[in-house]
């Protein structure tokens, strides 16, 4: 089972926390820009990773090494390089835009000076959690997964450490397994959700 979503979450969180130094230095605009870029980077990383896991199992690293960020919207077969599929990029842009709209509103509050640095950092850290729904959306978007089962949609929100995986049963059904880490702090919603579920492919 892949823990890529958790690792990407951690990378994004680290990037956002590292930007806190700018805030401490009084460079508010630079801080906002750094967090914004960290959010977008997290989404692009989640998308690359999810596509590799979804479509290129068994040669994930090879595919990622051949991927060319600049080659947009089409495979460049002649060179053997690969690009991000247009549909996935569009979906990622949709998801990232939603997060960025919330962030821009948050940025206005930061600029207004009404929030303490600690509070700003705490709220900014939560944006890292949005990486995981994007990862699951791209990776398992062709499955009809109930929203309540997607990690990040429970009380613990962005702090959720639960993971899901889907095994294709080959007849239009899939077996979704949701796991949670007992040693991690978890909310009251997550433990009962751990288990296996029959889900179906999206048909419309």
């Amino acid at each position: 089972m892949s823990n890529d979503a958790i690792r990407l979450h951690a990378l994004t969180l680290h990037e956002i926390e590292a930007a806190g130094a700018l805030l401490d230095a009084g460079q508010t605009d630079a801080y906002i820009d750094a967090v914004r870029r960290a959010i977008v980077r997290g989404h692009t990383a989640a998308t690359w990773s999810a596509i590799a896991q979804r479509d290129h199992a068994g040669r994930i690293r090879d595919w990622l090494m051949r991927a060319v960020p600049g080659a947009r919207h089409a495979r460049t077969e002649r060179t053997g390089d690969v690009a991000m599929p247009r549909a996935d990029r569009d979906r990622m842009r949709e998801l990232a835009t939603r997060e960025l709209r919330y962030f821009e509103r948050f940025a206005r509050e930061i600029r207004s000076g009404q929030l303490s640095p600690a509070r700003i950092k705490a709220r900014a850290a939560m944006y890292a959690g949005a990486i995981r729904p994007t990862y699951y959306e791209i990776r398992y978007g062709h499955w009809d997964i109930p929203q309540r089962l997607l990690p990040g949609n429970q009380q613990c929100r962005a702090n959720c450490r639960c993971t899901i995986s889907v095994a294709d049963l080959g007849d239009g059904r899939g077996l979704l397994t949701r796991r949670y880490s007992p040693e991690a702090d978890h909310c009251s919603e997550c433990p009962p959700l751990a288990g296996t579920y029959t889900i179906y492919r999206r048909l419309r």
Binding site: D4, R7, R37, V40, G42, H43, T44, S49, Y200, R204
Partner: protein, 490 residues
Amino acid sequence: MSDDVRKRSVTRDDNAGDAAAGRLSIVIGPAQWAGILDGVRGATGLPRYGSMMRDRILAESPMIEDMWASAVGLAITKQSSLGWRIEDDAQSQRRIHAAQRMLLAFDGDYVAGITRHLRDYLLTNNGAFVEIVRASTARGSRIIGLMQLDSLRCHRIDDPAYPVLYEDRRGAFHRLPAENVIAFADLPSARIEHAGMGHCAADRVWSTILKRAAVETYFREKVSGARNLAIHFVTNVNAERLREALHAEGRDQAGRGYVLYRGATIIPMLSGGGAETPTVITIPLAEIPDGFDPEQERRAANQIYANALGIPVQDIQPLSGQGLGTGTQTIILDEAAQGHGLAAWRRSWQQAITHRVLPTTTTFYFDSNDLRDRQQRAQILASVAGAVGPLVQQGVLRPDQALNVLVDEGVIDPAYLPSDQTPGALLSDLDKPVDAEEPEPTTLIETPKARREPADLPELADADVDALIDAELAAGLAWARLVAGASNEQ
């Protein structure tokens, strides 16, 4: 029906442009069904209950027997020609018009749509299915239309959230959420394994259909001479003479334009002498068995058909000697039909449309609205008013209380009542609780979005976001390579 409804329906690919190149359906009669019926279980020749093949045969049952076809046609057209009305407690003309438009466009056209719907209801155990088409795939999205789904393409699934799987013409399956489909069935099974499958009218009368078809076929062949009716042994007639006589008769008839099927075998025999009188010995092959009364059989079959369809038997068999029956008979029949089978369908349809499709305050009723209906309403008004009037005169009720009674009885519009002194805790199946604070659930006009975004969220141009993504694509890819390197998966 607007193109938008069709476009958003699961049936959108069923009438695609290349449909002309699609499969051709040929309706075949029972004579060609040997391949299907051979080896199947049961005395009636039907496949097992619950199978699509059984429904496929039942759905074609009107093709087998004329009287059954007529009875089904009559039962369906009676329902499809019923008038209806839409009421809105808040007197919203907008909601009423929207509901009317949607129902008139049911599966393209109301009458044709309801006819197709009822054919599935009466002729398949699977029942009839109506798709609630919404403006988008989001839960609780605005309802934009209703589509009739082919029952033979609907599979009942034991999943309360997605009870129906629809297979379109291209073979693609569409899972229908419970909120997007209404499933009707005649006499639904109580077994949970059957997932609401019913026992349709055609199944209930299948053996009668077969028997009646056999009787009618027997008589048709007997009358038309398509089968050998008898063998005649004629003695003392020369075979050549007999052949000449038959040919001469045939030529004579052909000259007059007659066509006659002969259903007898004549065997000439010569005895020893040549001057004996010809005699005929006949062995009947197609006589009706002793005690068999075809008229009685037909009447019994009509009664069984009428009971199965839920229509008065006089509908398909008017009183003897009365032609189409009498006026009084018609009124009595109409009242009698209130408790018959299709009344249950009418009630189900009204409840489904009222509670699952229309907005909270809007109600659908079947109502022919003809002169007799209006006369009935006038009679009810006169009757209730006649009962209340003396109570007012005797001082038992005040006029405002009497008005309240008349409103409660439904003979006067509630708009005339300044304040309800007997606020009801009584709701009939078609009434809806009117609560100003209650949010409207799935409504036709005003549907709250499942998840609203805050109003103060700034808008972002796609180009700006694209520029940000382009700037971070390489860094994102580097992160993806990093986590892939840390992962054991390949």
